[in-house]
């Protein structure tokens, strides 16, 4: 699969990043979305419902920080690949299984894969699903690593 030459460096570098990552950033399937702690129970729902028009998710606003606290980066970085895969673990897994989808396209963009190679990229990920998700407890950094290996191969 030598045709994916260009993004190899980006992916390999991204795969190498996890050594420095926190443990908490290394997220498995089914965990990513659990960051959102919602209030449950009918009464609190009603109380919240009457006030919560556009509050959004407060937990998230705090962890993400406001505009002032977070640099406004738009440039592709290796950290972004890690972040993207971590925050979209389940979505990416199911799109790889289906052989298409917006998450795969986004991943391809983050690693600067030329547009004409993206369909092929999605197909090869689908074919290698068992290798990428080699265990139910696979983590996001392992997924990035496995994808990098497939692209390199």
């Amino acid at each position: 699969m030598k045709k994916f030459l260009l993004p190899v460096a980006a992916l390999v570098a991204a795969a190498g990043l996890h050594a420095a990552d926190d443990l908490k950033q290394n997220v498995g399937i089914g965990i990513g979305t659990m960051i959102f702690e919602g209030q449950s129970g009918l009464l609190s729902q009603i109380c919240a419902a009457t006030t919560n028009g556009c509050f959004g998710n407060q937990t998230f606003a705090i962890t993400t920080g406001t505009l002032g606290a977070r640099p406004w980066t738009g440039i592709v970085s290796n950290g972004e690949v890690q972040t993207f895969v971590r925050e979209n673990m389940d979505q990416l897994a199911r799109e790889i299984a289906a052989g298409q989808g917006e998450s795969i396209d986004t991943l391809a963009e983050l690693i600067a894969l030329p547009a004409d190679q993206r369909a092929e990229f999605a197909k090869s990920l689908q074919a290698k699903f068992d290798t990428i998700y080699d265990s139910p407890t696979v983590t996001s950094t392992e997924v990035v690593e496995h994808i990098a290996q497939i692209v390199k191969a």
């Binding site: 209030q39 959004g56 199911r94 052989g99």
Partner: protein, 623 residues
């Protein structure tokens, strides 16, 4: 000769002067001459609005947003301070005002005809770098629809999405205005939210984070309205967002909320539009969408179905046996290989349904992590082995596009007969939607009536009387099916006029009615529901409290513009004021137009040992 020489000399002189810095006094004089302190665009940049007590005040509460200590109340002082700060020499250890306030700087440059090269700091490099990084292509408003059964939102939400030239939609930048509510919950949360007790902030995040939150977790479909803004408009908007970074404003649930701030961003992009002037005093996210559509600002509409929507749509388009098996596969009752037969495309669709459903169950914490991981990966493995793409995407239900909805303020006029008296009636309901209002654009089974008040003038009475004041009237009727079993509930509170036994005179009673139950879809359009209600009354006699318990059963039937709501209820009041109250009747409406409908009520009821019949007819108009 001399006449021709003078302009030439002047031009030459100007060329020499051009390297010279501007003097604050000159610019101030020019700004005064142009009356910039009262200029609409300047006031928009400062978020200044006239207040009810006649003075102008900025809606922004953070002193860091102003260069002048009097800036909150005094746009002229802020203008003078800004001119001074922009002309200040650059100091190595201090952040220059141009870096911090590039929108105000750009405004002054444009209106005063300044040459940036003559400014100590010609442009905000911090902003320019961020702007290059964003590479904006277009801007869109994202509207996650209302979903009553999550705490997140009843009215929906709006956020701004900056789409990049190169990235996919989910990798756009989301600009979100939200309150930081911390760990508060319940009553404190409600009170502080309404009374501006939380700080509101703009925050910036990848759009996928908001999509994960809304469409996956909250089960809310997301509508995206791409805005007809030019690259210059978008740049002006981002300049203003930059100035709002880290700035706190008290978040008021009903007016200074996300929808309100969003209109300010659009006004910053297009100062000629003055959208926030057009906004009603209560800004609801849906109103924002409508205001933008009516201003001709919407180019294109996109729709992202939530997991729940996908589950329902996929199940509806495949044979029932396949849908039922997909459910069992998601629940772990059958292996994923059970779906794989001679037809890979159909098997793929079945497994995609199982995957959607399992993910939805996980998001609702109906499946433990330990059980989820192997089951999810197992189904995905079977799905990947099929090697076929997903079936075509689910298409958007255009009849419920939020911009199709009626306006939220309702005025109703009519008359009828109650007991043996005729009456005329008038109703004012500021927000937002009830089950019999025109259905397009709103979520089926969801009702939020707020502060509706109806007065009636009965024949023979000297003056009109309050018939009903509904402080809050909520319905969340979400149909149950084999996949999802949400609770249905309702809350009504306010004051109502009721006939009382022993002569049939009327009294005003305060009520708080709470019901919980379940709801199912009708085989044709609509739903039916059953609830058990607890009804607390405060009446104007001694003893004054009564508590009623009993069932209610009803339906909402839709046939084109006609909606019918037959209801039967029975409530046994216990305690100090015993009575068996019941009612049976049907209400309905016929929509002539998005914002105009006929409505009627027919009811036979027993209230406090008095039997009566009511028939009423109204014309409802929506503004």
């Amino acid at each position: 000769m001399l006449r021709r020489l003078v302009p030439a000399l002047l031009a030459a002189a100007a060329a020499v002067v051009s390297a010279e810095p501007y003097l604050p006094g000159d610019l101030q004089a020019e700004a005064d001459r142009l009356a910039l302190a009262d200029d609409r665009e300047w006031l928009t940049l400062l978020h200044v609005e006239p207040t009810w007590y006649g003075l102008r005040r900025s809606m922004v509460d953070d002193p860091a947003f102003f260069l002048s200590p009097r800036g909150v109340h005094d746009p002229a002082a802020e203008l003078a301070a800004t001119i001074e700060a922009v002309l200040k020499p650059v100091e190595a250890d201090a952040r220059h005002a141009v870096q911090r306030f590039p929108a105000r700087t750009a405004y002054l440059v444009r209106r005063l005809g300044l040459d940036p090269a003559r400014l100590p700091m010609p442009r905000s490099e911090e902003f320019e770098e961020a702007y290059r990084g964003l590479g904006p292509r277009s801007a869109a408003i994202a509207f996650p629809t209302a979903y009553m059964n999550t705490p997140a939102s009843m009215f929906g939400h709006t956020l701004l999405v900056i789409r990049s030239r190169v990235r996919t939609g989910m990798a756009s930048q989301a600009i979100n205005y939200a309150a930081l509510t911390g760990e508060d919950g319940g009553v404190a949360f409600a009170v502080k939210g309404v009374l501006g007790g939380y700080p509101g902030h703009f925050s910036l995040m990848p759009y996928w984070q908001k999509l994960n939150e809304y469409s996956d977790l909250d089960q809310r479909d997301v509508w995206e309205y791409e805005l007809a803004l030019s690259p210059e408009d978008i740049r002006r908007m981002l300049l203003h967002v930059w100035e709002m970074r880290g700035i706190r404003s008290d978040y008021w649930f009903f007016d200074e909320n996300c929808a309100y701030y969003l209109l300010y961003l659009i006004d910053a992009a297009r100062p000629d539009l003055r959208l926030h002037d057009a906004a009603p005093p209560w800004v609801i996210p849906l109103d924002t969408v409508r205001i933008l559509c009516e201003a001709g600002l919407v180019d294109e509409v996109e729709w992202r179905p939530s997991l729940a929507t996908k589950v329902k749509a996929r199940a509806a388009r495949m044979p029932a046996e396949r849908a039922a098996r997909a459910r069992r596969i998601a629940l772990g009752e059958e292996p994923p290989t059970a779906a794989v037969d001679g037809d890979p495309a159909a098997a793929a669709d079945e497994l995609d349904l199982a995957i959607d459903y399992l993910q939805a169950l996980r998001n609702r914490r109906k499946v433990e992590q330990a059980a989820f991981q192997p089951r999810f990966v197992g189904i995905l493995q079977a799905r990947a082995r099929l090697g076929v793409p997903a079936r075509e995407a689910i298409s958007a239900p255009t009849d419920v596009a939020p911009d199709q909805g009626h306006r939220s303020l309702r005025l109703g006029f009519g008359g009828g007969i109650s007991g043996d008296k005729t009456f005329i009636s008038a109703e004012w309901r500021p927000a937002y939607h009830d089950l019999l209002d025109p259905a397009p654009g709103y979520v089926e089974g969801a009702q939020i009536d707020f502060m509706g008040i109806e007065g009636r003038w009965y024949e023979g009475d000297a003056r009109p009387t309050l018939e009903r004041w509904e402080a809050i009237g909520l319905r969340s009727f979400s149909p149950r099916d084999v996949f999802f079993t949400p609770p249905s509930w309702k809350v009504d509170t306010g004051i109502t006029r009721e006939l009382v036994g022993g002569g049939g005179h009327s009294e005003h009673h305060a009520f708080l009615d709470f019901g919980v139950g379940a709801c199912w879809s009708l085989p044709w359009s609509g739903l039916w529901y059953a609830t058990v209600d607890a009804d607390l009354r405060i009446v104007d006699t001694d003893p004054s409290l009564a508590l009623g318990l009993g069932p209610e059963i009803g339906a909402v039937v839709r046939a084109g513009p006609l909606s019918l709501n037959p209801v039967a209820r029975w409530s046994s009041f216990v305690g100090e004021l015993p009575a068996d109250n019941w009612s049976i009747g049907v209400s309905g409406s016929y929509a002539l137009h998005r914002d105009l409908a006929f409505a009627f009520d027919l009811a036979r009821e027993a209230t406090w040992d008095w039997l009566s019949t009511t028939a009423a007819l109204r014309v409802n108009a929506y503004f």
